[in-house]
């Protein structure tokens, strides 16, 4: 009578092993990893989703997928902030990580077709956005303009420098970068990322705007977008929260009633109207 015992379900907490195939420090604290699943099967994911990354014995944490499903393997960028991330930083090529997922919501890759895309990235916020940027570049004809704003605290912390340089050479996208504090080697924009918003050459209110950055950034960017009269249902925010299980059980990632691991991390801003804890 008890059906549940009969169908042997998978263990949602059981990670699959993946092997590090490439690794490179992007700056002093951020490590880039390219992984391949030991099963030989690529994960099926969409831009915006994340995986739960484990080192057995140390722990587990959510990490955004930075690669695009159009490429092979899985790319992650990991900031060294604590136990798990410190140990991951010590792993070499050939090292093993446990992977669960992908989990969470995705960027509106389908609805965005034909529209101009504006990405506003603060610091490590570029990492998940890059997944959609690359996806859009790989499906270039499906989308209108692609505009990427990148703000970084200081010159030395800039991520994906070569890739950004390549993007900047492309005629079919606009990339603007700024750093918070002036630096001798930097002759570009100085100031927080919001200072770039007025420079956007596109019809902002009809574009889709994707935001990801540190907690403090959202408020100011959203204010600027409100001024530019971007409707709230065209804004997507990518939010971080404490997260343990990644599958809607442990309760840590809740923003009011919303579980970031299920309804997020990518939220349409208009859906957050009754979610005061969000921003």
């Amino acid at each position: 009578m008890c059906e549940c015992c009969n169908n042997h379900k998978n263990d949602i907490y059981l990670p699959q092993l993946a092997t590090i195939t490439k690794r490179r420090m992007l700056n002093g604290t951020e490590l880039y990893l390219h992984l391949e699943m030991d099963s030989g099967k690529d994960l099926e994911y969409s831009p915006g989703q994340f995986v739960e990354v484990s080192v057995a014995g140390i722990g587990e944490g959510p990490i955004s997928i930075s690669s695009s499903p159009t490429q092979k393997g899985l790319e992650l960028v990991i900031r060294n902030v604590g136990s798990l991330t410190r140990v991951i930083h010590k792993l070499e090529v050939g090292g093993k990580l446990g992977i669960r997922g992908p989990y969470g919501s995705t960027y509106p890759v389908e609805q965005a077709k034909g529209k101009d895309l504006v990405f506003i990235c603060g610091g490590i916020g570029l990492v998940p956005q890059r997944s959609f940027i690359r996806y859009a570049l790989d499906h270039r004809n499906d989308y209108g303009k692609i505009i990427v704003l990148i703000g970084t605290k200081c010159y030395t912390m800039r991520l994906f420098r070569e890739e950004i340089a390549l993007w900047q050479q492309r005629k079919d996208m606009t990339v603007m970068e700024t750093i918070d504090e002036a630096h001798d080697c930097w002759d570009g924009n100085v100031g927080v990322v919001t200072t770039l918003i007025p420079k956007i050459e596109s019809d902002l209110p009809s574009s889709l705007v994707m935001i990801c950055g540190p907690p403090v950034m959202y408020k100011f960017v959203l204010m600027a977008l409100a001024e530019a009269e971007v409707p709230e249902d065209r804004i997507y925010v990518n939010l971080e929260r404490r997260m343990k299980c990644g599958v809607g059980k442990c309760g840590h990632c809740q923003i009011n009633e919303k579980y970031v691991c299920q309804e997020g991390p990518v939220f349409r801003y208009s859906d957050l109207a009754l979610v005061p804890e969000a921003i």
Partner: protein
């Protein structure tokens, strides 16, 4: 890979925390497989100045001890304060409720001024040098000690609870001391002991020190709800009202 070198030192204390390490019994052999214990006066005769991890037990009550702590810090890569005396000052801080001269007089009478009986207000180790990790408790829980050491050896930040004793007390399914009309410091004291005292029928007297952000102000009003007075609480604050952290 050479094993990390560990040294254990003791200052003013009862050495009960070291005893807790001894009480790991067979597990000490596991520990010794992983590290070289190069100095541990209570248990062995060898001594060394070359170590990676220094474990300090006891609180600091004399200028010469303070010098020794500075020396240990300068030699150690990781410094661990072991037990309440080292981590918060422990029960020794009760002394700080009095004038030092009077304290010496009280204990040694007419001989109080002999130089070797000198003392100053008790300090925790982190009042003198930077402490990397604290293992709380009077005495420590040796399972926690084991967990912290293993975490360090794996390069992991050891988990030190920052939630109150009530969490563990409830998990043990104890009847709350407050329901018996007693005061208990559980709601503002750092957990990690498995709520030993309430579980054994005694109130929590705060040997692990306060949680990071204790709601001490609430205590006064809560006392009133139980028809108890502030006086009832005063001598019952952390480690019997010794001067460490917030008091009423």
């Amino acid at each position: 890979m050479s094993k990390p070198r560990v040294a254990i030192f003791d200052f003013a204390c009862c050495e009960g925390c070291q005893l807790q390490i001894v009480n790991l019994e067979e597990e000490i052999l596991d520990l010794i497989n992983l590290v070289d214990v190069v100095e541990w006066r209570e248990a062995m005769s060898e001594q060394s100045h070359d170590y990676d991890i220094a474990i300090i037990e006891g609180s600091i009550t004399r200028p010469e001890d303070e010098k020794r702590v500075l020396l240990i810090r300068s030699r150690a890569k990781i410094l661990i304060a072991l037990g309440a005396c080292a981590a918060t000052g422990g029960v020794n801080k009760l002394k700080n409720n009095f004038d030092m001269k009077e304290v010496r007089q009280c204990v040694y009478g007419k001989d109080a001024d002999l130089p070797h009986l000198d003392t100053y207000p008790t300090k925790a180790v982190d009042e003198i040098v930077e402490v990397d990790y604290k293992i709380h408790g009077c005495p420590i829980e040796n399972s926690e000690f084991a967990r912290v050491i293993r975490a360090l050896l794996l390069g992991k930040r050891p988990m030190v609870p920052d939630y109150p004793v009530c969490v563990e007390c409830k998990a043990k399914e104890n009847v709350c001391r407050w329901e018996y009309g007693e005061t208990c410091l559980g709601p503002i004291i750092r957990a990690g002991c498995g709520a030993r005292c309430p579980t054994a029928g005694f109130r929590c007297f705060g040997c692990r020190g306060y949680v990071d952000n204790p709601n001490v102000e609430a205590a006064r009003e809560v006392m009133a709800k139980y028809n108890l007075t502030e006086e009832d609480l005063k001598t019952r604050m952390v480690l019997f009202g010794s001067k460490q952290g917030p008091t009423l």
